[in-house]
Amino acid sequence: MSMLELRKVTAGYGHFTALWDVDLTVAPGEAVAVVGPNGAGKTTLMRVISGLIAPRAGDLVFEGATLAGRPAHEIVAHGIAHVPEGRRLFPALTVADNLKMGAYLPAARARYAESLERVFTLFPVLAERRSQRAGSMSGGEQQMLALGRALMSRPKIILLDEPSMGLAPVMVLRLFDLIRRVREEGYTILVVEQNVRQVLKLVDRAYLLEVGRIKLEGRASDLAEHDFIRKAYVGL
């Protein structure tokens, strides 16, 4: 039984089609990666799932409910949290206010204090910086805040779009450790990454997306050994 399922999803912007007939499933508790080069449609895929753009064709099913074409603010309420590319924090708001906005939905609001404690346990630096403006923090701290803000909505699945983007190599390793810890807390994760070697160590399964189509799919350990992936993306 899958938690999230995309069936033959086609989507794009204006006359441009970025995704063609994409099939993808994520089971509860699973961590799944979508890898691929720049412009493959990875971000579009995430935006379709969270409702920022509507698919042109195909279906999006989450826990048995069809969500295709629903607006983003309704999809979050089903338990899908999207950490967008570039983090998209509210730079002029404090860390605490950013986290508060993560718990904007009534159900999340009711458990705000409890969620905040969990996020602060996971990312102690956010507790130290709670009254600082989000925009004034380092890239790594901002990515932690983006993750923490997503957790505040009490999601069932977290969509991570290029979490390592713009981070120093040492910070990338730390971030992947943190994502691993989030995973151990029982969250289901769908992650899009260009840092293929790192992300394949983190997830159970992965998809290779190229020019808007799924080219390969399999267990992360198998894909890491796959000749095509090794040559093209891992650089070995």
Binding site: P71, K100, M101
Partner: protein, 288 residues
């Protein structure tokens, strides 16, 4: 030589006027900062609320507080109405169309008010006491509106910083799509913003009617000034608009005593033009 006591009195009057100007500027600036559209007809909504006050208090004899509540409610409803009927359809269109639409609304409201109520100036007069402190003449009719304005602005500040909706209003102004991902419906946030902006207009109308007479072209008296204050403070910058209100009201009030009221406005506009060249981002903007 002008007696210094007159200048001191003008300075005090400037502060009292600044309170109401700040109320107008914050309402307009809140809407601009969040929805990114300048409501050219903002002060004309104030004018409609002043007419409501005139009819309720002067013609039908309602108590001032009850009429004031109606004015607040009317302002909020007008704000929501403007957003739904005029702003929503043009949200994605070029800025010039947005200016034309809200500018068109201004002419519509002015003409409609002329049609309904003629161009006669209508006045509501309350007999309130005046106090003399250290030789300065302080009318209660100006102190009470000032105090109410300050309370309203503190309430606005608390709303924007302490509540989920207020924080969401600030968040939407920074990143609309990210706020959708938090589960907020941007249209709902815009409607609340417009209602709060309208509420400020309703309150300003309820306070201004006791100091100024209302007529269909009242907007021309305060509209440009309010817009100027917002630009001077930095469009969308609430603290800047607050400070700029008092700078402008002091210039107008003090030079009004030194020379004439007309000269006061001339000097205010000259200061504005100079400041726009010196600090195009507004007085509170960081230097490049």
């Amino acid at each position: 030589m002008i007696d210094p006591i007159f200048i001191a009195e003008a300075a005090v009057n400037g502060i009292l006027l600044g309170g109401i100007l700040a109320l107008l500027a914050l309402g307009l600036n809140l809407i601009f900062g969040v929805i990114d559209i300048v409501w050219i007809a903002y002060v004309d909504l104030v004018m409609l609320c002043m007419y409501a006050m005139y009819f309720l208090v002067q013609v039908y004899g309602w108590p001032v507080w009850a009429a004031g509540l109606v004015s607040l409610l009317l302002g909020a409803l007008l704000g929501i109405g403007v957003h739904l009927l005029i702003i929503t359809p043009i949200l994605g269109s070029p800025p010039v169309n947005q200016l034309l639409a809200t500018g068109g609304l201004l002419f519509f409201i002015q003409s409609f008010a002329t049609f309904l109520w003629t161009t006669d100036h209508k006045t509501v007069r309350l007999s309130l006491p005046s106090y003399e402190v250290a030789g300065i003449f302080l009318p209660a009719g100006r102190i009470i509106p000032f105090a109410i304005s300050i309370v309203a602005m503190v309430a606005l500040y608390l709303f924007l910083t302490r509540t989920y909706m207020g924080t969401a209003i600030r968040a939407v102004s920074q990143d609309r799509d990210a706020m959708r991902l938090m589960g907020a419906n941007p249209q709902r946030v815009y409607i609340v913003t417009s209602a709060v902006g309208g509420l400020m207009a309703g309150l300003a109308g309820a306070l201004l009617i006791f100091q100024y007479s209302v007529h269909p072209f009242f907007g021309g008296q305060f509209g440009p000034l309010t817009f100027m204050i917002c630009v001077l403070g930095g469009l969308g910058n609430m603290v800047g608009a607050f400070v700029a209100s008092f700078i402008m009201s002091e210039i107008i009030s003090v030079s009004g005593v030194l020379w004439s009221t007309e000269m006061g406005y001339v000097i205010a506009f000259v200061v504005f033009i100079v400041m726009i060249f010196a600090r195009p981002g507004g007085i509170m903007a960081k230097r490049q």
